[in-house]
Symmetry: C2
C-alpha cells in the first residue's frame, strides 16, 4: 500500500483509497485488525490526524469499525445487508431529488424492478410476508390516515412483496428504488377515491401472491403502475395550472 505525497489529491483520500482497495481485493480480510493509528501514521509517513481522517472516510462507508480500549483499534467490518440499506436509500433519495429525474422515469424503474421480483415472491413468499401485506392493506383502508402514513404503509407493503422473493440481493437493490420514491409520493395528496383504487389493486396483488400466480401478480403490478402514473399526472397538471397552491 503506497501513497504519493506529491499527488494533487488529499493524503487522507489516498490513504483511504489504498486501504479500501486492500479490503476489496481481499488483502485485508473480515474482522482483521488494522495497525493502530500511530503505526499507520508511521507507515504512510503522515500525521495521526491525517490517518484518522482517512479512517473516518472508511467508517462512513461501513468498511471498518473502530473500538476503543486496550485491545481496540480499527477492524475490517463485515458489510451486512442491514448496514448497506440506509446508505443505499440515502444515495438513491438524493440521486432522485438532485437530478431532476422525472416521476415517470423513477416510477417506471421501480415497477419494472418490482415486477422482476414478482415471480419469485409469488412462489416463495412465507405466510409472514403475506400477512404483512394484508395488514398494510388493512391499515391503508383506515379513514383518517394522513398522506404520509398512507405512503409509509405503501412502502411497507411493497417491501414485504419484494422480501417475499427470498433473495437478499434483490431486496437490497429494490430497497433503494422503492424507498427513494417516498419523498416523491409524499408530494401527492390522495383522495378517498384514489385510496380505494390503490387498496383494491393492492388486494389484487396480495390475492395473486396468495394463489402463487406469478403472471397475475405482474399484471396487477402493471395496473398499479398505470394508476400511479395517472394519479401523479393529474396532480402535477393541477399544480401547474395554479402554481400558487402553497
Amino acid at each position: 500500500m503506497k501513497i504519493d505525497p506529491a499527488s494533487p489529491a488529499d493524503l487522507s483520500a489516498q490513504i483511504a483509497a489504498a486501504i479500501r482497495d486492500a479490503i476489496v481485493a481481499g488483502t485485508l480480510i473480515v474482522d482483521e485488525r488494522l495497525p493502530s493509528e500511530a503505526e499507520l501514521s508511521e507507515q504512510f509517513d503522515v500525521s495521526r490526524p491525517t490517518v484518522r481522517e482517512a479512517l473516518k472516510r472508511l467508517a462512513a462507508q461501513s468498511l471498518i469499525r473502530t473500538q476503543r480500549g486496550a485491545t481496540g483499534g480499527a477492524f475490517v467490518n463485515r458489510l451486512s445487508f442491514e448496514e448497506a440499506y440506509p446508505q443505499q436509500i440515502t444515495t438513491s433519495t438524493l440521486l432522485l431529488s438532485m437530478n431532476a429525474v422525472s416521476f415517470e422515469t423513477a416510477c417506471e424503474a421501480r415497477y419494472a424492478l418490482e415486477r422482476a421480483c414478482a415471480p419469485f415472491s409469488a412462489n416463495r413468499r412465507s405466510p409472514d410476508h403475506l400477512a404483512t401485506m394484508r395488514a398494510e392493506i388493512h391499515r391503508q383502508s383506515q379513514p383518517g390516515l394522513t398522506d404520509e402514513a398512507f405512503c409509509a404503509s405503501d412502502v411497507a407493503f411493497h417491501r414485504a412483496l419484494v422480501d417475499g422473493a427470498g433473495n437478499p440481493v434483490l431486496s437490497y437493490q429494490l430497497a433503494g428504488a422503492v424507498e427513494a420514491m417516498q419523498p416523491l409520493m409524499n408530494m401527492i395528496t390522495f383522495s378517498a377515491r384514489d385510496r380505494a383504487r390503490i387498496v383494491a389493486l393492492h388486494t389484487d396483488i396480495a390475492d395473486a401472491v396468495e394463489r402463487k400466480d406469478a403472471d397475475a401478480t405482474a399484471i396487477a403490478l402493471t395496473a398499479l403502475e398505470l394508476e400511479t402514473q395517472k394519479l401523479a399526472e393529474s396532480v402535477f397538471a393541477a399544480r401547474a395550472s395554479k402554481p400558487a397552491t402553497k
Copy 2:
C-alpha cells in the same frame, strides 16, 4: 442542527449525521456553501479536527466537496449518477464477497433485474448501444482472450443492454448487480466450447434487441442465465472433488 456531547457516539459522527440530515431534508441545497471549518467548530462547540473528521465522512459519500483557497470551503455536492456508480459497485461487490451469497442467488437477481430492462431496451436502444453490443460479441469471439478480458467484455455487453433502456435509475441499480458479479465470474474458467455457447446466446440477445422484440430478448436472457448457472455448477463441482487445485 444540534448535537449531544454526552452521547456515546463519536462527536464527528453526530456532526456528520446532522449535516447529512440537513442535506437530505433539503435544508441545505445543492452548491450551497457550508460555514468554514472554524465557524462550524464554534457552532458545534468542538475543535477543528473533529469538524474535519465529520466533513471527511460526508466527502466519502460524495455529499459534499471541498475547495481550497480564498473562496473555498465545503459545498453541498450535486450527487450525480456517475459519482454514485463506483460506490454502488464497491458496496455490492463487498456485500457479495463477505456474506456468503451463493452464486445462484446473485445470478438469479442479476438476470431478473436485467430481464426487467429488456423490454425498454428492445424498444428504445440507440444504434450506438446496439453497435457496442455487437462489438463486444466480436471481441468475445477472438481466440487468445484471457478469462478476465472475456468477463470484462461480458460486463460491457450487459451494461450496453441495460443502458439501452434509457432509464438512468435502472442503469444505476443494475450497475451494482452486474459489476458486482464480475469477481464471481472471474473464478470460472471458460473453455472454447463454453465461450462459443455464450457468444451464440449474446448474438441471440443482440438480434432480438435489433428486431425490437422484447419477448425474445427476455427469453434469450433466460437461456443465458441457465447456461451460466449450469457452467458455474460444473466448475464448482469439479473444484469440490479435487480441492487442491491451486
